[in-house]
């Protein structure tokens, strides 16, 4: 029960567009207990194992109070009873009796039925990996809602997930997916992805269903449906440079440590870090002229090409490095005004992760 409530609490809105959304919908049917919460955009239903049941029905329970009491209860079998209309009694051995005011289930918004035209299964572990590797680049600009979600592109035996906020981009492809349906592009909102990361276990085998305006992710213990973001995702393929001439290879962890140290001295607003790349070393510099702080550190790199001077937002740089699993990271570079492509030096056969970072123009 605790786990079930945890799963659904994430979608209970903090500011309520409708008062009934502060409740969770509890329903007993065919000897199955389900609890549901929704913010109208995302709906999560958790299935709760029950030992025994009597009768059928549903009731609304104030989400916050229900969670608080369940969390405080020890791990003992509980008896939940709705005796009189709209009065929920909680009982358990050695824990006394609690009465929660219930609500009329009719007040709860009607749950969206999803008529999936496309449906397939994949491993929970892989799904979570795909989300993690892209989610950092999702935009928070409400003026461009399409970028506030991740793009999921389904192709024959292939899934490709893309996120960008217009300053950086992350794209991950898997070619070990058993998918044979139609080609499909959908954009899933960020909040649904957060919920999935929390709600799905590595050994789950979620079934993903996609309809016109909604998508669902169903496992044995929960089902999440989300509204899809409407609109045209920008043509990201055309902005990924294919032939950046210079490559810099660097130890991922070392680079990360340097970036973290340097960023302490980065300008507090622009977060700018300057990188001067030569044959076998790169010099990272940051400066906050307002307080007079300054830092520089050199790092060994493998680099062919003309010396280059570039600048990036150090936060973005750290975000990117964090996604690299291999010992070394490869930066494919062009000029100081062009996109950099960052990849792992060794890629799994079935997976292709590409990240793109736009520079900060050096101000001379």
């Amino acid at each position: 029960m605790k786990r079930g409530i945890q799963r659904v609490m994430g979608v209970v809105p903090t500011r309520l567009p409708m008062p009934s959304l502060g409740n969770i919908f509890v329903s007993l049917k065919n000897k199955m207990l389900e609890i549901t919460a929704t913010d109208l955009e995302i709906t999560v239903t958790a299935k709760v194992e029950i030992l025994d049941s009597e009768g059928e029905g549903s009731v609304l329970i104030q989400a916050k109070r229900f969670q608080d009491i369940i969390n405080q209860l020890p791990d003992v079998p509980l008896e939940i009873e709705v005796k009189e209309p709209l009065k929920v009694t909680l009982k358990g051995e050695g824990v006394g009796e609690y009465i929660l005011p219930g609500g009329d289930p009719i007040d709860f918004p009607e749950l969206p039925e999803i008529d999936a035209r496309v449906s397939f299964d994949m491993s929970g572990e892989i799904l979570k990996r795909l989300i993690t590797k892209t989610m950092f680049a999702v935009s928070h600009d409400e003026m461009r809602p399409i970028l506030t979600g991740v793009l999921i592109q389904l192709r024959m035996n292939e899934i490709c997930i893309v996120a960008t906020d217009g300053h950086r981009l992350s794209r991950i492809k898997r070619t070990d997916i058993s998918y044979s349906g139609e080609e499909k592009d959908v954009v899933v909102p960020m909040k649904a992805l957060h919920q999935l990361l929390q709600g799905i276990e590595d050994d789950d085998e979620p079934t993903i269903g996609i309809a016109e305006t909604r998508a669902s992710f169903t496992t044995d213990s929960q089902r999440l449906t989300t509204r899809l973001i409407d609109g045209h995702y920008p043509n990201y393929q055309s902005v990924i440079p294919e032939d950046n001439p210079h490559t810099m290879t660097v130890n991922t962890d070392d680079m990360m440590s340097v970036v973290k140290r340097i960023s302490v001295f980065a300008h507090p607003i622009s977060h700018q870090v300057k990188i001067t790349i030569k044959q076998d070393s790169a010099l990272l510099e940051a400066e906050d002229p307002e307080i007079g702080g300054r830092g520089e550190e050199s790092i060994a790199v493998n680099y062919e090409g003309e010396p280059l001077e570039l600048a990036y937002n150090c936060t973005y740089l750290a975000d990117v490095l964090r996604q690299i699993d291999t010992e070394e990271a490869a930066f494919k570079l062009n000029t100081s005004n062009d996109a950099a492509i960052i990849k792992s030096t060794v890629q799994n056969d079935d997976e292709d992760l590409l990240m793109l970072l736009m520079p900060i123009r050096l101000n001379r």
Binding site: E142, G166, P189, K260, I269, S270, C314, I360
Partner: protein
């Protein structure tokens, strides 16, 4: 009283001087000349009009029409003062519906320019050419000419250097000319119009109805969406077009109100329109409208001063009510209100719920909407003094120390119940009405307007970037293009170098198209295109003020970039906002002069409870 005051002798001014003084009243600026000439042409029965402007009217204003035209004697008379053909045609002044009835326009213009008129009256074989310079007729001879009148006003104010000096930049002067043009073009959709600027054809408008005229001026998308208004009650008829809430504008520049086809300005009637459409403008903004009132001439009075367009009605309340009803009925028939409120809210939630609290590198940068303002020099570990000592006097001194208390880390928590512990001992801040930040002080309560506070922060930051150290630019992966109306091109080009030092890299990519390649690094921007268009609109709107363009642009950026009233903020955003505000040079007033914060003293609160 028998004392006689000694009276200075009255001297008659030479005619040329008197003319120039009188001219100043009618022709303040090139746009006024354009207005008079177009008005005359319309009175002259023209249905095709070509207007050519060079150097924003400084060098040339030319209006060519196909109206009745004038004979040689008409022409000579037109140059003489108070010669008007129009009063003969109408019985009394009250019922006048023509534009230039005072007979002042042409002589006034002639007095301050080099005027050339070529005209052939309908039914005449030959036309007449008349040249006047500074009020003196230099040439009057027969000439072959098409039917109609062509008037060229060259070198306006060539003999009035003071007036010439007061003209604004070309971009601004042309903006006013374009506004006059649009007012007439919308008032007379059945006339075909052309407007040239420095030989480029800006607008070519074919005869049609109001909607097609709007399409010609603002584009098909806008015209299609406009809601028709048709209303008649008693002696008042209202018809026209108004935009739905989805077309809300950032500025009020596209609002056209007429009475009997004469453009007017009326704050009161404007309010009637706004209150009528308010429920349908759920996310704010201004409507575009073209609204024409028709009324018997004896029901209203237009101030006849040539430069003013204000109107008074015999029955103000009736007009207000009827106009309100006309607009409300049109717009409510067209759309159901507030259809999207729930959806929007849930989207906002999604964005807000994603914010987490981590160290700078661990947290994605875009999650921090407010970034600390560069601190002023901090030599010791003490918090920066938010105020300079010399500003302290009397009660304000107390306020100062209160605010230091707030800006510094000293906690006020023990004074009030703490709603939700934020985990550190920063000051308690609440947000009320999603608009004001409220925080308890040792000796009172401070209220801060979040929008103006952020405005002040961004203003100082932008100004520093423009004047001292240019801001660096985050290059965009998807450059954003935008188009401006032809007469705004100059304004945008005037802004570009300043925008560049603020971190916006904007390049021209077409005659009226621009591309945003980069934005100020690290400053959270939502909707680059809207922000930039907003800045340009704001910059344009303030073009009439005398202030330095750098300040105007910084203020425009601050105004458009700042958090809005009504926007929920997270605790750390509020805290940073307050910290940055009191790091500003002048945390008391926003760039427009509005106060940023207000303190209620404990003494005052005590009084409420008679302690």
């Amino acid at each position: 009283m028998t004392e006689t005051l000694e009276r200075p002798p009255i001297i008659t001014l030479p005619q040329s001087v008197a003319d120039r003084i009188a001219a100043g009243e009618v022709v303040e600026r090139p746009a006024a000349v354009v207005k008079e000439l177009i008005g005359n042409a319309i009175d002259g029965g023209a249905d095709r009009m070509t207007i050519a402007i060079e150097d924003a009217g400084r060098t040339l204003i030319k209006v060519v029409d196909n109206g009745f035209g004038m004979t040689e004697s008409d022409l000579a008379a037109a140059i003489g003062r108070h010669s008007t053909s129009k009063l003969k045609r109408f019985e009394d002044l009250e019922s006048l519906s023509s534009f230039g009835f005072r007979g002042e326009a042409l002589p006034s213009i002639a007095a301050v320019s080099r005027l050339n008129i070529i005209s052939r009256a309908r039914g005449q074989d030959v036309g007449t050419e008349l040249s006047v310079s500074g009020g003196k007729i230099e040439k009057a001879e027969p000439v072959a000419a098409p039917e109609g009148t062509s008037i060229s006003v060259g070198h306006l104010f060539f003999n009035v250097p003071a007036r010439r000096k007061f003209l604004r930049t070309d971009a601004t002067e042309f903006k006013w000319i374009a506004s006059v043009f649009k007012h007439f073009a919308l008032a007379f959709p059945s006339i075909s119009w052309e407007l040239y600027r420095n030989k480029d054809l800006l607008y070519q408008l074919n005869p049609g109805d109001e909607r097609s005229r709007l399409a010609g001026l603002f584009g098909d998308d806008v015209a299609e969406e406009m809601i028709p208004i048709n209303f008649q009650r008693g002696w008042l008829t209202v018809h026209g077009l108004i935009s739905p809430g989805s077309l809300a504008q950032r500025t009020t520049s596209d609002q056209y109100l007429y009475i009997n086809n004469r453009p007017i300005v009326s704050p009161r009637l404007n309010r009637a329109i706004y209150t009528a459409c308010e429920p349908y403008y759920t996310s704010g903004g201004h409507p575009i409208y073209v609204i024409k009132l028709e009324s018997a001439p004896d029901q209203f009075d237009i101030n006849v001063h040539p430069a003013k367009k204000e109107v008074k009605f015999a029955d103000e309340k009736g007009v207000f009510g009827n106009l309100w009803a006309a607009v409300r009925r049109a717009i409510s028939d067209d759309r159901a209100p507030r259809e999207l409120t729930v959806e929007k809210k849930s989207q906002m939630e999604t964005a807000a719920s994603a914010v987490s609290e981590r160290s700078p590198v661990d947290a994605p940068a875009h999650l921090t909407p407010f970034v600390p303002l560069p601190r002023r020099s901090q030599t010791s570990g003490a918090p920066a003094m938010p105020f300079s000592p010399d500003r302290k006097r009397g009660e304000e001194a107390e306020t100062d120390s209160q605010l230091q208390d707030l800006a510094g880390a000293e906690s006020a928590q023990r004074l009030v119940g703490v709603p939700e512990s934020s985990g550190d001992d920063g000051p308690v801040i609440w947000q009320v009405f999603d608009t004001y930040l409220v925080s308890p002080l040792k000796t009172g309560i401070v209220f801060i307007d979040q929008h103006v506070a952020h405005e002040r922060i961004l203003y100082e930051r932008a100004l520093r970037a423009i004047e001292k150290e240019p801001w660096t630019s985050q290059v965009l992966l998807f450059p954003v293009s935008f188009a401006v109306s032809p007469e705004d091109v100059d304004i945008v080009e005037e802004c570009l170098p300043l925008l560049r030092s603020m971190g916006f890299a904007v390049d021209p990519i077409g005659p009226r198209d621009f591309r945003i390649q980069a934005v100020p690094a690290g400053i959270r921007i939502t909707g680059e295109r809207d922000l930039l268009l907003g800045i340009i609109a704001e910059f344009k709107d303030t073009a009439t003020s005398n202030s330095d363009p750098r300040h105007r642009l910084a203020a425009a950026f601050a105004c458009r970039g700042a958090v809005k009233a009504g926007q929920p903020l997270k605790t750390e955003q509020m805290q940073r906002l307050i910290d940055e505000l009191f790091g500003c040079e002048d945390p008391e007033f926003c760039p427009h002069g509005r106060p940023i914060y207000h303190v209620i003293n404990r003494r005052e609160i005590d009084k409420w409870f008679r302690r």
